[in-house]
Symmetry: C2
Subunit: 167 residues, 2 copies
DNA sequence: TCCAGAGTTCAATTTAGTTTGAACAAACCG
DNA sequence: CGGTTTGTTCAAACTAAATTGAACTCTGGA
């Protein structure tokens, strides 16, 4: 207890805990690990940039988790390194523009799956066209056509999404 | 081996296996369990409606999985019960309109989270307004305002999404 | 060159979430 | 009724994924 006035800075206060919990929930919906939500959430309500060690101590997570979590968040464009004057240690700040967050998520988590899905389906459609039984071939080709339409819709929707979230 | 001509109907042929795999991948992106993808995938490439027992035998999953999976798919509006004349057993067909699938997913999996998030954040914003330190209060209120803006954006985007996918 | 601090890596562990299967309920029929 | 078939439930087992922490690399002084 070296700071009785402000409380132990290593513990989250109730408001901080609740905000972090909201982000933990949020990222679970997106299929990202809980630590990502904790880290981003704490950065989001911190007035100053935080170091990896700050995150480890305040969230009670391991250095490994913090390191991996920060890497993913950087890849998503959700955190960036703050300008730290002469310090060797790097400090992190959250990106808080929804456009940027959505864009990173779409680029890193959605597009790759969409693209690989498109490829697989294109190949399946070719296979379907070579089936002997005409009845079965017709049916499967229709279904594959349907899948291709879905993928095209998906591809068209993403840019619109980004545009709508971008303000 | 009671059907040498068409192969054992209990085993998926290679094309079927690949299509099922595509759906298994697809639902994982959406954060749904693998069995959901298997079941929907098999229904999607089946020319006839299938019973729970068909799914159990062809996918080698348990009755429990098939039952739970079908329930979730029904809730999502992704499968419906086929008109089965006099039969007691019920047969299932996939819904293949993207509008319906996306609508069900949004209604069941997205909206509830969005709404509960909105509520939590509204309450947090109130708490933030009662903070003593003016500097901290201002900062947190801004951040909460930002969160509320995100939620509003999310709420506005969903109907657009549905509209775009609805044809 | 050696040391100390910062950050990364990855095998082992833990946890969260899915699947199983046995027991149960419900519907139909002789 | 009793028996058979169909489908549901849920605690226990299992699996996939996240987290840990010890060993490592890298960098910047002294």
């Amino acid at each position: 207890m070296d700071d009785l006035l402000n409380g132990d800075p290593h513990e989250l206060d109730p408001l901080e805990r609740q905000v972090v919990a909201v982000f933990v929930d949020g990222v679970r919906v997106l299929g990202l690990p809980r630590s990502i939500g904790e880290i981003y959430g704490l950065l989001f309500i911190s007035q100053t940039a935080l170091s990896l060690d700050d995150l480890v101590q305040r969230l009670h997570i391991s250095k490994g988790s913090a390191s991996q979590g920060l890497r993913m968040l950087k890849n998503l464009g959700a955190v960036r390194e703050a300008e730290s004057g002469t310090e060797r240690r790097t400090y992190y700040e959250p990106a808080i523009e929804l456009k940027r967050l959505a864009g990173g998520f779409i680029r890193e988590q959605v597009r790759p799956h969409l693209d690989s899905g498109k490829n697989k389906i294109t190949r399946l459609a070719e296979t379907a066209r070579e089936i002997d039984d005409p009845d079965r071939r017709k049916f499967l080709s229709e279904r594959m056509e349907r899948l291709e339409t879905w993928m095209r819709s998906g591809g068209r929707v993403l840019p619109v999404l980004q545009k709508l979230l971008g303000q």
